[in-house]
């Protein structure tokens, strides 16, 4: 008798566990299945095609030629360096701006609610539209150039320039709000008592900012910076519109390889490199998030 009563719950527990597992699978299937088919499979194809497999229009063979091209061909090499360059500069400039704005947004001031809606506008502005809006201001025929020409001052060429200043300006305009959203969420979680105590002990607002606000927002700062960096590193539309003929961004080179030369293999090799850079950054991001969660516990 006793054996039966023990055995029954056990087997039913097993059944429940299997049932639970099947339910999880059924619930996860639509979203994850979609991503497996339309993201993981193409991604694997890109990686394989980069080493000469799954070739289109020619026999497949395992080769590192396409990676050798990246090392030997100056155009390809420079495109990677150029993308790294504008991604780093954009991230640094955006971070400084976002830190200042988020810190100031923590203070109550008249019209704050309007500003906190206004700053989100670039979030919903498509990057091509952002490019157009900034173009009408900073281009040679833009508003600033027109205003300055009355006083005989010549406005420098900022678009299609060698240093990608136009690209960086538009990317900063577009990415600062994302950073502000993340940073002000982190900053508003900092207990007011801490900064109040520091102020009572005679700290200047700047000291509070640099010794309290910034260190305590460090998890948000790293997360925001990494997200912006990855997004900008692979950005296509803005560099393709505002970039100089040389050097081109890596994404622009990739689209040219695909659309103009149908050289899918070379584009795939470059794509693998971009993915690898993003994956490394993503790994770092995850490590930071984990440490942040561990610290909160």
């Amino acid at each position: 008798m006793e054996q039966v009563t023990v055995a029954l719950p056990q087997s039913s527990r097993e059944r429940i566990r299997r049932h639970e597992w099947l339910t999880d699978l059924a619930l996860l299937a639509p979203g994850l299945g979609y991503l497996l088919i339309f993201m993981v499979v193409p991604l694997i194809q890109v990686i394989l095609r980069g080493v000469g497999l799954l070739a289109i229009g020619e026999p497949s063979r395992l080769t590192l030629d396409f990676y050798r091209q990246v090392v030997e061909n100056k155009i390809l090499r420079d495109s990677i360096l150029f993308s790294l360059y504008f991604a780093l500069v954009t991230t640094a400039v955006s971070l400084v701006l976002a830190l200042i704005v988020s810190a100031l947004l923590q203070i109550q001031f008249p019209g704050r609610s309007i500003i906190s809606v206004l700053y989100k506008i670039p979030l919903v502005v498509p990057s091509l539209v952002a490019a157009f809006l900034v173009l009408t201001i900073i281009d040679q025929g833009g508003i600033i150039a027109r205003a300055l020409s009355r006083y005989g001052i010549e406005w420098p060429e900022l678009v299609h320039d060698r240093w990608g200043l136009g690209i960086i300006m538009v990317l900063v305009w577009h990415n600062v709000p994302i950073m502000i959203v993340i940073l002000s969420a982190v900053m508003s979680a900092i207990p007011q008592d801490i900064s109040a105590a520091a102020r009572n002990l005679g700290a200047t607002p700047w000291q509070v900012f640099s010794n309290i606000t910034v260190p305590l927002s460090l998890p948000g700062i790293s997360a925001a910076s990494l997200l912006v960096f990855i997004g900008v590193f692979g950005a296509f539309s803005i560099p393709s519109l505002l970039g100089a003929p040389y050097p081109s961004a890596i994404s622009v080179i990739m689209s040219n390889e695909v659309l103009e030369r149908a050289n899918w293999a070379q584009a795939s090799a470059l794509g693998t490199i971009v993915t690898a850079v993003s994956a490394v950054v993503l790994y770092v991001y995850y490590r930071l998030i984990r440490r942040q969660e561990a610290a909160l516990r």
Binding site: D24, A26, L27, L28, A29, P30, G31, Y34, F38, M39, P42, L43, V46, L104, I107, Q108, F109, V117, L118, Y119, K120, V124, V125, P126, L128, V129, F132, L133, V134, L135, T136, I137, A145, R146, A147, V181, I182, S184, A185, Q192, S195, A196, V208, G220, A223, L227, F233, G234, A235, F236, L241, S251, M254, V258, G271, T275, S278, L282, Y286, I289
Partner: protein, 294 residues
């Protein structure tokens, strides 16, 4: 914060927290913020609007700060130039389909992520984060060749499918975050009152996650309207959405600013309108769930 209501003369009031600056300082902040917003946001928007109304007969050449004359000619071109009308139709045909498809895919998966104990949760979250992190051009390279083989290139269905890949993660994360916020008591209470899985979903879960679903749907709709890289590589040249057209007008040395401005306004108006309508739905938490924390 109650201190905001205090008049300047009560600066010494004990309720004032030590970090809050005095009233004139706050007005200085207001001035600074609105000045900054004017330069980086309002002026570009005004100039963009002006460009869309430039009279093509007189043009708008430097050094004129304002156009010599305005007209509706460029907007009329919207109807007479077939490509603008077609692109408009295409964009607003694809966006709702993508939104519906995304909601259908994200609801069950978001529920599982938000409410259930999952094995391999980290891996699943990483997989969902990947399309946000992965550069669009890499996905476009992989999907482009795959869709050529499947005969989905240059088709509306193909564009719907690729756009869903990039917006689905936002939807899943936002929906998961909302499901996570539903109090367990409410679900237990409904179960105790005899609600089955279907009734529970219909009367408790769906109403509770509605704000998140609205926010997610909004994100998805705007994301679909804005999406460029994948649409460009997979859809070209047959499926031309508004961003693809804008790229054509802005690209090259002879950019057509006037038409670009019209397309810009058409793209911008619904998104900004939606942003203002949904200010309440687009709470910081949802935005943060979409972008920031995992």
């Amino acid at each position: 914060m109650s201190t905001a209501e205090l008049p300047g003369g009560m600066a010494e009031a004990p309720r004032r927290s030590a970090g809050a600056p005095r009233m004139p300082m706050r007005w200085l902040l207001t001035l600074g913020f609105f000045g900054f917003a004017t330069i980086v946001l309002v002026i570009p928007l005004i100039v963009g609007v002006l460009w869309s109304f430039v009279n093509p007969e007189h043009g708008w050449f430097p050094p004129a700060i304002v156009p010599p004359s305005l007209s509706l000619a460029n907007w009329r071109a919207m109807l007479s130039v077939p490509e603008i009308g077609q692109a408009f139709f295409m964009s607003f045909l694809i966006a709702p389909i993508v939104t519906v498809l995304c909601s259908a895919l994200a609801l069950p998966t978001g529920y599982a992520l938000g409410r259930r104990r999952l094995k391999a949760r980290r891996t699943i979250e990483l997989l969902i984060l990947a399309p946000i992190i992965l550069p669009g051009i890499v996905l476009a390279t992989g999907l482009g060749s795959m869709f050529i083989r499947m005969g989905l290139s240059h088709t509306i269905l193909g564009v719907v499918l690729v756009q869903t890949v990039v917006v689905l993660p936002f939807m899943i994360r936002i929906v998961a975050a909302t499901f996570e916020g539903v109090p367990q008591d409410l679900i237990d209470a409904a179960r105790n009152l005899g609600a089955g899985p279907w009734a529970l979903t219909r009367h408790v879960l769906i109403p509770m996650v509605k704000p998140g679903l609205v926010a997610g749907g909004l994100f998805t709709f705007i994301g679909s309207l804005e999406e460029f890289v994948l649409t460009f590589i997979v859809g070209m040249p047959h499926v031309q959405t508004l961003p693809v057209l804008l790229w054509a007008y802005l690209g090259g040395r002879s950019s057509i600013f006037t038409y670009a401005a019209v397309v810009t306004m058409v793209l911008l108006a619904p998104t900004i309108l939606l942003l203002f309508i949904a200010e309440r739905a687009l709470k910081q938490e949802y935005l943060a769930a979409g972008f920031g924390k995992v």
